[in-house]
Subunit: 193 residues, 2 copies
Amino acid sequence: MTMQPRTIEAATRVNGLDMAAAFATIDAIKQNPQLAQFRFRARNHWIDGGENRSTIRDFYGAGREDDSRSEDFVFTNGEPPVLLGNNEGANPVEFLLHALAGCVTTTLVLHAAARGIAIRSISSELEGDIDLHGLLALDDAVAPGYREIRIRMAVEAECSPGELDELMAFAQAHSPVCNSVCRPVPVVIERAR
Amino acid sequence: MTMQPRTIEAATRVNGLDMAAAFATIDAIKQNPQLAQFRFRARNHWIDGGENRSTIRDFYGAGREDDSRSEDFVFTNGEPPVLLGNNEGANPVEFLLHALAGCVTTTLVLHAAARGIAIRSISSELEGDIDLHGLLALDDAVAPGYREIRIRMAVEAECSPGELDELMAFAQAHSPVCNSVCRPVPVVIERAR
């Protein structure tokens, strides 16, 4: 199912999203598929121990370099004492849960809006299991990453329980972060010389 | 290769990490493998449109609930105008790049320290490609997530270029976030009723 306005009236603000703009974007992409190509970026530098900091600002999308951000977003990774840090920030695997929660939520809100379904509230609790034998290279049979991530999501929406179940499954299948976690994504590391 | 102190002298602070504590942790895990089991958590709630907010604080690890954090970490996802938002925060796929950068960096710093290699600096630039045909469900053949992520990393370390290449490959292979992106991780979404 692709995003199509079900009625003319649907092309207004739904769930805080300007659906007229959304459908205009979709029409533009159908005319010129190249507009759908986005390239996101981050820069990071090490501070000390388990502390490092990223800046995020520019990206490419919709056929141009974006210039909408007047300041950098800055985020600090840290580690708790049990992982040799001083809680300088959340740690990277926790930031991954934040990214996943946000992406599934936004994807759900977007596709609900496309169907004309008003969302009243969404809250979610995530947990994921990691066995440090992997990170520490103590057992090559143990994957260093998450074994599984569980999301328990409470949604209040103006639709039937069946529609909501279908919408949640649709959001899971179409969320970029969820798809990047569920599916193997090639990561290429090059050393700058 | 597992983490082993190469010399007694290595069991001190290296790259900002207390390696005596690190090797004590490893010894404890070897005695009781259950101590390596960690469970990380995040809670998120939708605000409006593409804006939502996560809180991160508690986790389980090393055989107990951690209580080292006196305050929540709070992070806001947003979207740029071209993606129907107001730049309320970085967006989820950008937070994923931040998590990935930080995790590869920390894993590199840790395993360098375990080998007694002093790191002077690390900086990295990440970029990843996303085709919106996936998110928007305009083409089922297009994956919604990243097609590929590239990390260009500059490292100054007290080792040979060959050792550094090997160390970077080792960090990539053992980074929990990198492994969670490279490898398919099951994500289970349950609706709270």
